[in-house]
Point group: C2
């Protein structure tokens, strides 16, 4: 019997191409497409899939959320994440949610097929560039500083326009504490002031904007 693969991907050109690659291979695979998370979850309830090829950027939900839900409902299902950008924290979150593999869309076709093969056979697979990313030996611009949970929380509030005092009130902490975190953020991102800080974190996707 063929193995059943669900492709959750909002770009028809990509999902179509993946399906052709898979059905054209020697893997004996049958594919179903879901252009968004909602349809993807609906498919999951009606069928018994062996593998999900999961895009991280979905129109209605983040792939991380989707992964979490899918794995909780169907613990046996295998999930291979596909994404355009190599962001360390995204990879970490996906693996935390139980993803079995991670491949960049900039990978070669062979790399992608190889990854699918590995994950289908029960192994974990990190694509070209992902392993280096996780080891910190990254050659591209992933030199973003690590920030703590609290810093990230305060960063979002700063971006939302709250003053130190307002943040302090909201989090039931001293304004001095908020100020410390703000200063640490400026330091970590080598930002001269709040304006540059926000420019950096928004453009690099450190915080989610609406």
């Amino acid at each position: 019997m063929p193995q059943l693969v669900l492709i959750v991907e909002d770009h028809p050109i990509v999902s179509e191409s993946l399906a052709q690659l898979l059905t054209g291979s020697d893997l004996n695979i049958q594919c179903l497409h879901a252009p968004n998370a909602a349809k993807g979850l609906a498919f999951l309830n009606g069928n018994s899939f062996d593998l999900i090829l999961l895009d991280i950027n979905l129109p209605d939900m983040s792939g991380i959320e989707f992964c979490k839900i899918a794995k909780s409902r169907f613990p046996g299902i295998r999930i291979l994440a596909l994404t355009t950008i190599a962001q360390r924290h995204v990879v970490e979150k996906m693996l935390d949610q139980g993803a079995d593999g991670f491949i960049l869309k900039t990978s070669d076709i062979d790399d992608i097929i190889g990854g699918i093969r590995q994950v289908l056979s029960g192994k974990q697979y990190l694509g070209k560039g992902v392993k280096e990313l996780m080891n910190g030996h990254s050659n591209d611009n992933n030199d973003l500083p690590m920030i703590t949970k609290r810093e990230s929380e305060i960063l979002k509030l700063i971006a939302d326009g709250l003053t130190n005092q307002e943040i302090a009130d909201k989090l039931f902490i001293s304004i001095f504490t908020v100020d410390s975190h703000r200063k640490n953020l400026l330091l970590k991102f080598s930002a001269k002031n709040t304006a540059t800080l926000i420019k950096i974190v928004v453009s690099k996707g450190v915080i989610d904007v609406d």
Copy 2:
């Protein structure tokens, strides 16, 4: 003789799929791939292309830049832009640079092929969703205020971390003037402070980052 198409796209899965679609169609097309802008420009110098399928998000250069360069060197070449996100200002800039068509990657395969056909035959083509976007009947946020050239200039400097005083010195105007512009910007974008202002303009692409 076949028509020559250059695919400038950093995702092999997408460019491969496009190439298959094109060579498998009745269009008598021959494809070359460039995974980045640099190789794309190199290809342009060595061949005589009829069409460029151009991704907006390239690793080494924005598609808008690439379009500008390509059109200035080879005015006769036709350019069809492909992108993942529908942002009005991006479409406008591309068309300003002489792009002949614009298609979202979320489009159906047929829509994409149709667009390629149209552009190859000399017409302009705006894909599904793009026309609505340009007409303002869009479901997303096109309610961005108009800002003047001077305001835009000062906005960039604010985002770069310059203080009012530094901006005043740079532009040889009074700090009062800079402050007026800053206040107008806050007003126009309904921003409580500089942090939100920058968050808005960076996320909506009002200013270019790096």
